[in-house]
């Protein structure tokens, strides 16, 4: 089970990183989301993996999974949601202004492409 979770984290990280390195904002934002998933699962896994022992106190039950990472991940999910909304909005604003959704600054085409040189 641990192997599954660890590989899932690794694969999501790799996928996320690959997408973060793309040239347009949309895939980059998706890559960030993927990275966020990876890190959330990682943070969650810092409490180790326990099946069938949710941290809801019940009479007679003594085994509970570690609740703290869950609370941390919850906070992280909320924050990253806010961040995603913001980055989407800013990226959209940038796109609407310039009609260009490249992440990288584009070199000044005016300088490099002299026109009318027949």
């Amino acid at each position: 089970m641990e192997l599954l979770v660890a590989t899932a984290i690794g694969i999501m990280t790799a996928g996320g990183l690959y997408l973060v390195l793309r040239l347009r904002t949309f895939p980059v934002i998706l890559g960030m989301s993927l990275l966020t998933y990876a890190v959330n699962v990682f943070l969650f896994a810092s409490g180790r993996l326990t099946v069938g022992a949710p941290p809801i106190l019940r009479d007679g039950v003594t085994t509970y999974t570690d609740p703290l990472p869950q609370a941390l991940v919850l906070t992280a999910i909320v924050i990253s949601f806010g961040m995603t909304a913001v980055v989407v909005m800013i990226a959209l604003g940038a796109f609407l202004g310039a009609d260009d959704d490249h992440v990288d600054d584009q070199p000044d085409t005016a300088d490099t492409k002299p026109e009318g040189k027949a």
């Binding site: 099946v51 069938g52 949710p54 809801i56």
Partner: protein, 95 residues
């Protein structure tokens, strides 16, 4: 009782396997497409299957804790389906 429990365990395994298979096959449809309608349909199916998974996990673990989770999936799962469909139909999903 033991035979009943035995049967239940077998049934649980079968349920898990078929739900898992269902997810995988839906995923295949999603990847294959070819139309967005198919893909949204596959997603919708996966959400419902996921709901089934949670229910069966609940049975398996013998806890009622997962009720809220399943309720949420049932209640809100269709929202993303509708949103995706609306996107294809209208572009703007809130207009």
């Amino acid at each position: 009782m033991t035979s009943a429990l035995g049967l239940l365990n077998i049934a649980l395994v079968i349920a898990f396997v078929s739900l898992a298979l269902g997810q995988v096959l839906s995923m295949v449809r999603l990847m294959l497409g070819p139309t967005y309608g198919d893909r949204i349909l596959a997603l919708d199916t996966m959400v419902i299957n996921a709901l089934g998974l949670v229910v069966v996990i609940g049975i398996r673990q013998g806890v009622q804790i997962y009720f809220e989770v399943s309720l949420l999936i049932a209640m809100l799962g269709f929202v993303s389906t509708v949103a995706l469909a609306r996107f294809i139909l209208r572009g703007d999903i809130i207009e």
